[in-house]
């Protein structure tokens, strides 16, 4: 009788410990919170050789706005539209976010192509985002794929833009691309 009670107690103790440990682990997991700390961006924009008059950098150089021209039937090159630099060894990629006006808009056919090229300091091209038109529709790229950027290295983003022959003046398009960093 006493042995049976002891056995019961041992079994109950083991089960109890398991239940309490598992419950505590779940509660702790639910309690766990994410802490976000503001830090300096490890990759940021810099003015390039052709940035004068076309580039506006945002606060902390983490945002860049380019105001580019396009000429009909001529490809205009901005060899160093904007530069990218890093304060640590990272990997970066260019990624398409949005384009406006979008597919189906009559003004789209005024453009032929917009190309963003990611180029290393030695001139090696490491990624390309190519936007082309087909009638009133855009053919958008997705992303370039990650490429390494070393601490202190400066990459440049070259932009090639071409409007269609006979394009109307004053027509504009807004392209938003992101620089992903990992």
């Amino acid at each position: 009788m006493a042995n049976r009670k002891s056995l019961d107690l041992i079994v109950l103790l083991v089960i109890s410990m398991l239940i309490i440990a598992a419950s505590a682990a779940i509660y702790y997991a639910m309690l766990a919170q994410t802490t976000a700390t503001v830090a300096v961006a490890s990759v940021y924009f810099k003015t390039g050789g052709d940035s004068t008059g076309i580039l506006t950098l945002g606060d902390n150089d983490t945002y860049a706005s380019l105001s580019l021209d396009a000429y009909p039937n001529v490809t205009l090159y901005y060899d160093q539209a904007v530069n990218l630099t890093a304060t640590a060894d990272k990997e970066v990629q260019l990624r398409h976010v949005s384009i406006n006006p979008g597919d189906g808009d009559l003004s789209v056919s005024n453009f032929t192509s917009v190309v963003f090229r990611l180029i290393e300091a030695d001139g090696t091209e490491v990624g390309t985002l190519t936007y082309t038109t087909s009638g009133d529709d855009w053919t958008e790229p997705t992303y370039t794929g990650y490429v390494p950027i070393l601490n202190g290295e400066e990459m440049t983003i070259k932009v090639e833009i071409k409007a269609a022959a006979g394009a109307n003046t004053g027509v504009s398009t807004t392209i938003v691309i992101a620089v992903d960093v990992k």
């Binding site: 009670k5 109950l12 239940i19 509660y27 309690l31």
Partner: protein, 161 residues
């Protein structure tokens, strides 16, 4: 002013309820006044609480805080009701006044006090702490009166009924 390092989640009451059921399971096994299945039933109730906690975590984004608090508090209330029930069983059915007195002072009273304390903390208002203190004072008073009346008088009273 009392301030917790981390806020209590509603699931804390679930955790507290699980602990109480586990404690009940071990106590009922040790006391020997109950059937052999009773401790295992309390253990099953603790497992049920654990499953509740798992579900609460999985559906955290779907269940609102009010709903989470409702079922967690209900579970804790069930655990407390069982503790009080055991106390009443020892006193009324088994007529074990001494054991019931010990159980009341070492289990029933502390568990209710702890529950009231954490409930007031969950409210986040110091007035709730005051409420909990008043509640505990009232309970101490009740236990004190029971001691003053004496076991014999209570036994007689129970016998008359």
């Amino acid at each position: 002013m009392l301030k917790l390092a981390t806020e209590l989640l509603p699931e804390f009451f679930l955790f507290l309820g699980i602990d109480f059921f586990v404690a009940l399971s071990l106590l009922t096994c040790l006391m020997g006044q109950f059937r052999r299945t009773v401790p295992y039933l309390y253990e099953a109730a603790a497992v049920f609480g654990y499953v509740n906690m798992l579900m609460s975590r999985e559906f955290l984004s779907i269940f609102g805080e009010y709903m989470r608090f409702s079922y967690c508090f209900l579970y804790l209330a069930l655990a407390l009701a069982n503790i009080v029930g055991i106390n009443v069983y020892l006193l009324v059915s088994k007529k074990l006044w001494g054991l019931a007195k010990i159980f009341a002072s070492s289990v029933t009273f502390p568990t209710i006090l702890i529950s009231a304390f954490f409930f007031s903390l969950y409210g986040g208002d110091t007035s709730h702490v005051l409420t909990a203190l008043l509640l505990s004072s009232a309970m101490v008073l009740g236990v004190g009166i029971a001691f003053l009346v004496g076991p014999e008088k209570v036994k007689n009273w129970l016998g008359r009924r």
